[in-house]
Structures are given as C-alpha cells and as structure tokens.
C-alpha cells in the first residue's frame, strides 16, 4: 500500500532548493523522496553526482548530517557510524547514498563486507547507468548500446545485475524503485526503515544531462523504464522476491510497451541498430527470467 501524500508533506525538507543539480535531475527527486522518509538520517556520500550537487563549502544543500568519503569507502564509513551511534545509544538511521559507479564498480567490496556483517545500514544506489559526476563515462550499470564518453560507439556488454549479487548476501531487505513512482519509492524506504540490518534499495534515476534527454521528461523516463520492462520493480525479503504492483503485469513480455518507446527519448541510444536492440531486449528478458527464479 502506498503512503498518503499528507504524510509525505509532514516530513522535514532534506534537500534545500537552490543547489548545483542540473535542471530536471533524477537524483534530486530520488534523494528528497527517499531521505525524507527516514528517522534522523546520517548520510554517507562517496564520490558521485551527490557529492557535486551539494554546492560549494561552506554552504551545503543537504539538510541532514552528511559525511563525504572516498569512492570505495561508503559502506565501511557507514559501518563505523552505525556502530558508533549504537555505542553512544543514539537513535539515528545510517544511510549510504551512492551512485552506480560506487555500488556496481569501485565500491563493490566495501558494501559486500558490510552486507556480510549485516551492518545496520540502508544502502541506496541511485542508478543512472554511468559515471555522471565525471562527465558520462561507462559503468558496469550502463546498458548495452548506450553511448558514453568512454563507449563512443555504444557499450558492447550487457548491464550487470547488482541486485542479484546483493541477494546472494541474504540481507533482510532489497527493493528496486523508480523516481517515476515517488510514492512507491517512499513506501519502500519506510518499510526498509522498520527492518534491522543491511538493506539495499536500487533507484532508477534518469539523468537528462548524461542521457541527452529533455529535462522535463525525467519522471516520464522513470515510468517508461518500468512499462517497457527495462527496470522491473520488486522487493526481496528473506530471499523471496515479489514483483511490485507497478511491475507485475510486465512479467509477461506481451504486456510491455516496446522498448523503442523508451530508447528513442534518449540521445544516448540514438545510434543503436535493430540487431543491438534485439540483444538488449534479450538482456532484459534474461534478467526477468533470473529474477523470476527468486519468486
């Protein structure tokens, strides 16, 4: 069940207006929705766009305590915070707020260690499928065919499934969410906040600057990625996967909108051939099949 709007309106403002974020920033929507759902959050931010949009010292846009830390140190620093606050007997929520570069790639070992120790942390990965703060280079979250500054001919490999790696750690809660459905995102965060241990929420966060898309359609891209089956929404609790209401009907490929509807709105997919689109469609179906095994 989705949260009601009045509850969301009563939450404190966590992202103050007038910051460095680009117009139409998907990360900003993800951050303000997710972090506002938490009780007394302390946020750890590794190198990523979230370390850029905070604006220049000594001013900062984040209205919650924030620790900036090196790229591959988010979950370790958060482990330290969570343990220290436990030792001090303080009621806080320790959060990792990392991009896909920090989660899929360089920070994989640090979160794997923290997840294995089942540290009391909520790890958010806002996923825009490339390194956005350094100017749009490929990451292992980049989908096949996408043009980035380090894959000028389009990426040749498929996107990594970080969620399935995370699921192998048997942590208590995993969810995917999209900025196209903020209430669903907020609801999942709220649910996660009531669980102890390592929790992971992957958020699809379109980036108009890097994706070469119209800033105004950022939320629409979030919706389209769900409706085309590009980004399925689900939760994994105690090892059991449940597709979310927004996604369940797209388990059947026949119900999905053509993936082209999603691709054509983004400059990064402009040069894709029909063969590449076929391969991409196969990638998506493979992920659905693998996820379905966890149901």
């Amino acid at each position: 069940m989705n949260v009601k709007i009045p509850e969301m309106m009563n939450r404190p403002e966590v992202l103050l207006r007038g910051n460095f974020a680009c117009a139409g920033c998907g990360l900003s929507i993800a951050y303000k929705t997710a972090i506002s759902a938490l009780n007394r959050p302390i946020v750890v931010i590794p190198a990523c766009c979230a370390s850029v949009i905070q604006s220049l010292h000594p001013n900062v846009t984040y209205n919650v305590p924030t620790l900036n830390i090196a790229f591959a140190a988010h979950a370790s620093a958060a482990s330290g915070i969570a343990r220290a606050k436990k030792m001090r007997g303080e009621d806080t929520t320790t959060v990792v707020w990392s991009g896909d570069g920090g989660t899929y790639d360089i920070g994989l070992a640090t979160w794997s260690g923290a997840a294995e120790r089942n540290e009391n942390i909520i790890h958010f990965c806002y996923d825009n499928g490339f390194y956005s703060n350094t100017g749009a280079q490929r990451s292992s979250a980049t989908p096949r065919g996408a043009v980035t500054t380090t894959t000028p001919g389009g990426k040749r490999e498929k996107r990594k499934s970080v969620v399935r790696i995370m699921a192998a750690h048997d942590i208590p809660y995993i969810a995917t969410a999209s900025i196209g459905y903020p209430r669903d995102l907020y609801t999942k965060v709220k649910k996660a906040s009531l669980i102890e241990g390592y929790r992971f929420i992957l958020i699809d966060a379109p980036c108009p600057t890097g994706w070469n898309s119209d800033p105004a359609i950022t939320p629409e891209l979030g919706e389209l990625s769900v409706k085309t089956g590009f980004f399925p929404l689900y939760e994994i609790e105690e090892g059991k996967l449940t597709f979310s209401k927004r996604s369940i009907r797209y388990k059947d490929p026949a119900n999905r909108l053509p993936v082209e509807n999603y691709l054509e709105k983004q400059g990064r997919f402009k040069s894709m051939t029909s063969d590449q689109i076929k391969l991409l469609t196969d990638d998506l179906q493979h992920e659905w099949d693998m996820l379905s095994r966890l149901e």
Binding site: M9, L16, G18, A21, G24, P58, P215, T218, P219
Partner: protein, 100 residues
C-alpha cells in the same frame, strides 16, 4: 589557549574543520538559470500534488495539504518537470511553460 615558552607567549590556533552548513540557495539564486518559467493556472489544478512530488528542486511549494501549490521563482531552474507531470482538469494543464 595560550602557552608560555621561554618567556614568549604563543597563541595556539583552533583547527579549521571541513564543515559545511545547510543553506537555502547554496548555489545562489538558481532561478537565474531559467529560460522558460512554469505558470500556475489555479482553475485547472485538482490538487493531486504530482508537481510537488516530482519537482527535483523542491521549488513547488505547498503550505499544507489541501492548499494550492505555488512556485518559488527565486530558485526554480525551469526544468519543466512539473508541467510534464501535471494531469490537469479535463486535459487542461494547471501548469504551462512560458518564455522568461
């Protein structure tokens, strides 16, 4: 803190720590970035608050549930997300982009 060494008084300076404080308009008045501005048309608003939910900047303001939203033009970057998500009343949007 002052210490005396060889009859010489030395002032020990406090450390400068890398602390930034939450600030409204941390990047200045970002309304300057706009080339188009969203205009609110009250009679078409159904108070669904989709614009408020999706505004990346938090510049769609609502004082209380049940009230009409309004726009903080000092910081609104003019991305147009609010206009795009607005369902409006009878297909007439409550927000539209107009040139600055």
């Amino acid at each position: 803190m002052k210490v005396i060494i060889l009859n010489e008084e030395i002032e020990l300076k406090d450390p400068v720590l890398p602390l930034g404080r939450p600030t409204l308009g941390s990047a200045g008045e970002t309304g300057d970035w706009r080339t188009y501005r969203p205009k609110f048309i009250e009679e078409n608003c159904i108070k669904c608050y989709k614009c408020w939910l999706s505004c990346p900047e938090g510049t769609i303001r609502v004082d209380a549930h049940g009230e009409y939203p309004y726009i903080d033009y000092v910081y609104c970057k003019g991305c147009g997300v609010c206009v795009h998500v607005c369902p409006g009343r009878k297909k007439q949007k409550a927000l539209e982009m107009t040139p600055e």
